[in-house]
Each structure stands twice: as structure tokens, then as C-alpha cells.
């Protein structure tokens, strides 16, 4: 295994681990959404690193190369970059939706702490007979 891989994959997964730790240990909704944003950045980095090829340039043909001079063997994988471009925009959309829901939750319940995920019988205690 090469050192660059260790640095990249290791660094990215530590980043993701911090995000998961944030989600699990924090109760503040906005902080949880921030932790998800950290995970999102990590996953995007992961996708692009999968497409990286050492010693090659960005997937853009120089202006004067023209047709016929295809940059085979010179550029990195363009697909993950295109996917990440999409994923970043989608990430903004999901973050915005989650934030609006958090603001609404705060306005209704007066707190940003999501106390329980009331599963099963526990949620029913609140229901009046």
C-alpha cells in the first residue's frame, strides 16, 4: 500500500468518523446537521480520491490541442469529479431542508434538543385514551 493512499483514505475516514461521533454525541439539531456536513465533505473527498491518478493533470484538454489529440494517459478520471459536482449541490439542498426543519422545530418546541426518537410503546404514553 502506498503512503499517499494511507494519508488520503485515512484522513478522509477520520473526518467521517468525527462527523459520526458528532451525530451520536450531540443533541443540538444544528450541530448534528453540521456533523452531517462534515461527513458530506468527507464522502466527496473520498469519491474524488478514488478517481485520482498520480502524475496526471486535470481532465481538460488545452485550448490548442484540438480534435485528434485526445489526452489519453494524461488526465485523471473525470467521472468522480462530475459525480461530486452533483453531490455538492445536492448536499446544499439537503442541508437547507434539514435546517429549515430544525428552525421550525425550535419555533414549536422552544429547544433545539431532540430528546427522544420515541419508538414503539414509549411514544404512545403521550396519547390520551
Amino acid at each position: 500500500m502506498n503512503g499517499a493512499g494511507l494519508v488520503f483514505y485515512g484522513g478522509i475516514l477520520l473526518l467521517i468518523a468525527i462527523g459520526i461521533w458528532g451525530i451520536l454525541s450531540r443533541r443540538n439539531l444544528i450541530k448534528v446537521i453540521m456533523a452531517i456536513a462534515i461527513i458530506e465533505t468527507g464522502v466527496n473527498l473520498l469519491l474524488v480520491s478514488v478517481g485520482y491518478i498520480s502524475g496526471r493533470s486535470a481532465p481538460i484538454v488545452e485550448g490548442d490541442t484540438g480534435i485528434g489529440l485526445v489526452p489519453e494517459g494524461q488526465v485523471v478520471d473525470p467521472i468522480p469529479q462530475a459525480l461530486v459536482l452533483t453531490a455538492i449541490v445536492i448536499g446544499l439542498a439537503t442541508t437547507a431542508m434539514a435546517l429549515v426543519a430544525a428552525v421550525g422545530y425550535y419555533r414549536k418546541h422552544g429547544t433545539l434538543e431532540l430528546k427522544s426518537w420515541s419508538y414503539g410503546i414509549t411514544g404512545d404514553r403521550e396519547v390520551k385514551k
Binding site: 502506498n2 499517499a4 451520536l24 484540438g66 485526445v70 473525470p78 462530475a82 437547507a96 429549515v100
Partner: protein, 243 residues
């Protein structure tokens, strides 16, 4: 007491997170970093690299993937952004009533910000347009150009808190740019290949020129306008003092 319970929650959480990350990390170590997998037989990306410029006429291969090969994804993506902007507006319209009761602390923009934003706005907008017009030639494109336009508009709004009312125009722009994107896709469906979003109607032209790559720049312009309008709408609605 508080510190202790935070710690009690924190340590198991950290352990779970590290365990999870370690599993995924070991899995990723199987994928060699920096390896030229695109040169392997049957790699889709390898075919894009070999034929991308010839097939789509775009000098920027990421653009050719985003707009042409995987244009359907991009259509879905601008739809996601559209839905988010609409959804944020819809949900905030129920919250906004409370805002009127207790107006937040308004920050008055300084004179320099006020005047400066007016001067800078055309330049920023022009730069955004430049970015998405050259999406098939250089880094950047519809998304990045759209965001730049959105940031220009947001700066203008911050500097001129009184100026409102462009929401309707943005909404119209957003919808019509989306319809234009689908329309360009249907051109492909009606065309020779009968394939949605096919780029076979226009001449591909000379790679590296502004007027090249067939429908690609047209599609990227509609994406750019749509993303610009949507992001402006999204952030302005999050700000929530308008309309």
C-alpha cells in the same frame, strides 16, 4: 454533572464512529490510490477520456460528463435544488409569521457596502456568465457560474435591505430555465437518435472555440441561470425577511 454525562455519551459514540470508519477504511485500502484504473479494459471513464472530446466537442471532460454523458443526473440534480428552494419557501412561509412579531436585530449596511455592492454587482454577474459560457472550455460551468451569480445577488440584497420584489422574476427565471433544459432534452428525443438529451442536433464545431460542442453550452446556460436563480431563492428564503 453535565460534563460527566457528555463524556459518558461521547466515548461510546467515538468508539462506534472509529469502528465504522476503520471498517470502511480497510475496504478502501483494496482500491489502490493513484492507480490508473481508467486504462483498464472496459473502464467507462477510459472511453470518455479517449472519445470525450470527439463525441461531445467539449474541451473540459468533466463538462462533457456532467452535461452530456450523464446529463440525466444533472437534470435530476437541478430538480433537487428546485424542490429544495420551493420546499424551503413553503415551510418558511409558516414560520415567517412569528418573525414579524419579533423582528430580529437588523444590521444597517454601511455606505461603502451599499454603494460598493451596486458597483460590483454587474461585474460579478458578468463573471458568472463568463464562467458558465466557458464551461466547456475551462474549469467551471453552470453550477459554479450559477453560484457566483447567486452570491452577487445576495451581496446586493444584503447591501440594499429595502430592495425587494425580484422574487417573482427569479421564480419565473427558475421555472423557465428548467423548462428550457427539458426542452433541449426533448430536442434530442425528437431528433435522429430518438434519445433524451442526445447532442446530435447541432454541429460539434472546433474544440476549444466558444461556439462549439453543439448543444452543450446551451444546456449549461440553462443550468447556470437555473442554479443561480435557485440558490438566490434558497438563501434569500432562508434569510426569511423578504416577501
Amino acid at each position: 454533572m453535565m460534563e460527566r454525562s457528555t463524556l459518558q455519551r461521547s466515548l461510546p459514540a467515538l468508539a462506534i464512529a472509529l469502528l465504522f470508519a476503520a471498517t470502511v477504511f480497510v475496504a478502501f485500502m483494496e482500491i489502490d490510490f493513484g492507480e490508473a484504473r481508467v486504462d483498464d479494459e472496459g473502464s467507462v471513464a477510459g472511453d470518455y477520456i479517449r472519445n470525450g472530446t470527439n463525441q461531445t466537442g467539449s474541451a473540459n471532460l468533466v463538462t462533457s460528463v456532467v452535461v452530456n454523458y450523464r446529463g440525466f443526473d444533472t437534470l435530476g440534480e437541478v430538480t433537487v435544488l428546485f424542490l429544495a428552494a420551493t420546499g424551503v419557501g413553503a415551510l418558511l412561509s409558516f414560520i415567517r409569521k412569528d418573525d414579524e412579531k419579533e423582528p430580529g436585530k437588523k444590521i444597517e449596511p454601511s455606505f461603502i457596502l451599499n454603494r460598493g455592492a451596486g458597483l460590483v454587482l454587474p461585474l460579478i454577474l458578468l463573471f458568472g456568465v463568463y464562467i458558465f459560457l466557458h464551461g466547456h472550455l475551462s474549469p467551471g460551468g453552470g453550477f459554479q457560474g450559477g453560484v457566483i451569480i447567486a452570491s452577487g445577488m445576495l451581496l446586493y440584497y444584503i447591501a440594499n435591505p429595502g430592495k425587494r420584489g425580484a422574487h417573482r422574476a427569479f421564480s419565473i427565471l427558475e421555472s423557465s430555465a428548467g423548462l428550457a433544459f427539458i426542452g433541449l432534452g426533448i430536442v434530442g428525443l425528437m431528433g435522429a437518435s430518438k434519445i433524451f438529451l442526445a447532442n446530435d442536433h447541432a454541429d460539434i464545431g472546433e474544440v476549444g472555440m466558444l461556439l462549439s460542442a453543439g448543444m452543450l453550452p446551451l444546456i449549461y446556460i440553462s443550468i447556470g441561470l437555473k442554479v443561480g436563480a435557485e440558490m438566490t431563492g434558497l438563501v434569500e428564503r432562508m434569510r426569511g425577511e423578504a416577501s
